[in-house]
């Protein structure tokens, strides 16, 4: 029976167990199904105290009551409220420890038997994941004892792919480019998180852009790239922040790699024999040169062989994972203004331009020559509607299905819609000429299967959040209510149904 109270507000819990269905025949009442009128009925109003007659032995006067002086506490210090808002709690000591939960490791990330179970994130890796801002404040990490993610079909594919690139074999050095879409709560960000965790276990280098919106809303400093190119802009502070994220997260890897290329842009500050960590720290210390430092770091990491004169101690570079979470913010004019007060297109920002250029196939060598993965996710909750981006995504899907760009069924932008040509061109990549480089793909995340959903709900039960008997019928019902197993909705259901039945 549909409950007479909203599950989200747990104020009117019923202590008695609900009647098992179908309802008992002994009471043939016409159950009032439509409960909303009752729920929405206005509460009985209290009479205003001034209007009524004076109470017993109480005088009534027209004099207004004096206002109590409001106690003014000190306003919160700068950044305090933001820190509270962005705070990420990864552990709940009241939740039960789930027995037998495995940690993510390089062995079990390809294990198909674990499908539908929840794998914990290794505790030492959490600092790395925090550094790349893989966790988001609104995700429900704080209700479990320790963070863990469910292994679904896409996770296993990802695991196999990452494993294949890292290991010696025919897949070594391959690269793939994916744009992850899906409905709200379908686990796109967590998919990126899983990719990052796997990349960290395989000692990859991870670059992330956790909040692309921050780059285009005119909240960080910007400056023209050089006098020659006045229409291109660099964002030094944002670049320095990204370098800082990358260094914190990939310290172990970068420490062991040394400079192997000439960097004329950095002049004397880049010395031979420097580790890449030290190189990156140059940019963190002085944000004014953050962009050249980032370019130098990128060229080092994508080097396949040392430049002449730097042969000593060259190590092959690890594969790279690049993630962007919330791509569509980059598909329109930014809030920045040029010197002539014209709006700057997001693609004119060097930072954005660099990450979008990775989507194009490289001409001589692939965008990621040492192999790796580009995972760019769209967002469904904080998402500007951009027509040309939607068309571009459709075109990617069509190209992935093997449709030629000249075919009549190939999706084209409406000629009267003023579609942004730059956006469509950014994703308009021909088939890569290099064998190891993958075509740009569109990956749509849907709901979990019933088995995966069952494993997920069992994890809730074993954490002590859910006191239900988990059987197939119950899971099937929740699966339907969650719109076909959309994992975010399942999570909401799991954390709400804390009624003892």
């Amino acid at each position: 029976m549909v409950s007479s109270f909203c599950w989200s507000c747990m104020t009117r819990l019923r202590p008695t167990p609900r009647a098992v269905l179908p309802p008992p025949v002994a009471a043939p009442r016409a159950a009032s199904f439509h409960t909303s009128t009752v729920r929405y009925a206005l509460p009985a109003k209290k009479k205003a105290s001034l209007d009524g007659p004076p109470k017993f032995r109480e005088a009534k006067s027209a004099r207004m009551k004096k206002k109590k002086p409001v106690e003014k506490s000190r306003p919160p210090s700068v950044g305090e409220r933001k820190a509270l808002r962005k705070r990420i709690v990864l552990s709940n000591p009241n939740a039960l420890e789930v027995e037998g939960m495995q940690d993510l490791s390089s062995e079990n990330m390809v294990d198909a038997r674990l499908r539908g179970s929840v794998l914990g994130l290794p505790v030492p890796m959490l600092t790395q994941l925090r550094a790349v801002e893989a966790f988001k404040p609104k995700q429900g990490w704080s209700i479990f004892r320790r963070p863990g993610t469910v292994v679904r079909r896409e996770t296993l594919e990802l695991g196999r792919f990452i494993d294949g690139i890292s290991n010696e074999g025919k897949d070594k050095g391959r690269s793939a480019k994916k744009i992850v879409t899906g409905v709200r709560g379908s686990g796109k960000t967590v998919h990126l998180l899983q990719a990052m965790a796997m990349a960290f276990t395989k000692q990859w280098v991870v670059f992330t852009v956790p909040e692309p919106q921050d780059l285009v809303i005119a909240h960080t400093s910007y400056a023209p790239l050089s006098d020659d190119t006045p229409h291109l802009y660099v964002q030094n502070d944002a670049t320095a922040a990204m370098l800082s994220r990358t260094v914190t997260a990939n310290e172990q890897v970068l420490k062991n790699l040394h400079i192997s290329q000439q960097h004329p842009a950095l002049k004397s500050s880049a010395k031979a024999g420097m580790t890449l960590e030290e190189l990156a720290k140059l940019g963190i210390q002085d944000p004014a040169i953050a962009w050249p430092v980032f370019q130098a770091l990128w060229s080092e990491l994508t080097a396949t062989s040392p430049a002449p004169g730097f042969d000593k101690g060259f190590k092959p570079r690890p594969p790279m994972l690049v993630t962007v979470d919330g791509l569509s913010h980059w598909m329109k004019n930014s809030e920045y203004r040029s010197a002539d007060f014209d709006p700057i297109h997001a693609h004119d920002l060097m930072f954005v331009r660099h990450f979008l250029s990775l989507l194009k196939p490289g001409s001589e060598k692939p965008a990621l020559p040492n192999g790796g993965l580009l995972l760019y996710a769209t967002s469904a909750s904080n998402n500007p509607t951009i027509y040309s981006f939607e068309v571009a995504l459709k075109q990617i899907a069509a190209r992935q299905a093997g449709l030629n760009a000249s075919a009549p069924e190939f999706p084209q932008a409406d000629p009267y819609s003023k579609a942004d040509k730059r956006v469509i061109d950014a994703f308009d990549s021909a088939k890569p000429t290099i064998a190891k480089e993958g075509i740009l793909e569109l990956q749509t995340l849907g709901g979990l299967t019933r088995d995966e959903a069952r494993g997920f709900m069992e994890y809730f039960a074993r954490s002590g959040l859910l006191r239900e008997k988990i059987n197939d019928a119950w899971v099937g019902e929740k699966w339907s209510l969650a719109g076909g197993g959309v994992i975010g909705e399942l999570e909401k259901l799991g954390r709400r149904l804390r009624v003892v039945n």
Binding site: L21, P22, A31, F33, A473, L481, G484, E489
Partner: protein, 313 residues
């Protein structure tokens, strides 16, 4: 106005007939002179015999009973209820009462088992008898009819049966039943439902529990969990949630109305697949139509019923 009523026409015809008889009666003794005064035939005879002022007293002639007219002076109506204003109705009523009194001892069946009869509606009955029948009195008549109808059909006397037949509406309103809905050749059952100002159409096919509303998933259309539970409630209460796929189209109204319109439509579509579920769903309250709508606002009112505040001074 009174002429429109057939009853009055009867009155008028009778009065015309009376005057015609009277006139022919006056004409038979001839003498146009006698027409000047309204006199009886006896008087005219007297006039014929007498010349000038008659002084001697004559006896009246003997009444010849052979030629005595049987025509009464006034016409006696056929029905004793003639002057009641609605004589035919009362005749029917009395007739029914007498029939009931005659056959009251016969065994009866419960009202549910009695054959369904389409009695005259009040307006039709007024036309039928041609008299203004009050509503309440007609209700009493219907009560008697229903009591008579409850007599066990096996033992029903022909007299009762014929009497009841008089009061039946022409045609057979309960004969044409709607064609029971069936699952079409693609396995879809269709159901429609309304609630508040929303109306929904649900196509139900066998499947594994997916619910789509207006081409979107249920999560996108109904962010509130309560609404989602409302939508799937007919399947849940019959534990059929993982056996059917739902494709719903809903228009109009707000979120709650749309959700509960789908509930009703879904329940009706499910009945097409499995009619045996009706008692369960009836008890769960999902095939009960909630016919309430928003009451209209009236002029002079603030809302439907609320009046503006009124202070004496």
């Amino acid at each position: 106005m009174a002429w429109q009523s057939p009853n009055c026409i009867v009155h008028a015809m009778q009065s015309v007939r009376r005057t015609v008889q009277l006139r022919s009666f006056l004409h038979t003794p001839i003498s146009p002179v006698s027409l000047r005064t309204n006199i009886t035939p006896i008087l005219s005879q007297q006039q014929r015999n007498a010349r000038g002022y008659a002084t001697e007293v004559q006896t009246a002639p003997e009444i010849n009973f052979d030629t005595f007219s049987v025509q009464p002076a006034r016409i006696i109506p056929a029905s004793p209820a003639y002057f009641s204003g609605s004589p035919k109705f009362i005749d029917h009523l009395l007739n029914l009462e007498s029939v009931l009194a005659k056959w009251a001892s016969l065994p009866t069946v419960s009202p549910g088992e009695a054959p369904r009869m389409a009695w005259f509606k009040l307006m039709q009955f007024r036309e039928f008898v041609g008299e203004p029948v009050p509503t309440k009195k007609y209700k009493n008549l219907i009560k008697i009819l229903q009591r008579l109808n409850r007599i066990d059909p096996k033992l029903m006397p022909f007299e009762v049966r014929d009497t009841l037949k008089i009061f039946l509406r022409p045609g057979n309103p309960y004969g044409n039943k709607p064609v029971p809905a069936t699952v079409d050749e693609m396995g879809r059952a269709r159901g429609r439902g309304k609630r508040k100002t929303s109306s929904a159409v649900v196509h139900l096919v066998e499947g594994e529990g997916e619910v789509m509303v207006n081409g979107k998933t249920i999560v996108e259309v109904f962010p509130r969990l309560h609404d989602r539970e409302s939508v799937t409630w007919p399947l849940k209460c019959t534990s059929r949630l993982d056996k059917y796929n739902v494709w719903a189209t809903v228009r109009g109204g707000g979120v709650t109305g749309q959700a509960e319109a789908i509930t009703l439509a879904l329940a009706r579509a499910l009945l097409v697949h499995e009619p045996g579920l009706q008692p369960v769903m009836r008890r769960a309250g999902v095939i009960t139509v909630d016919a309430r709508r928003v009451e209209r606002k009236k002029p002079g009112h603030v809302k439907a019923r609320k009046m503006p505040t009124w202070v004496k001074r």
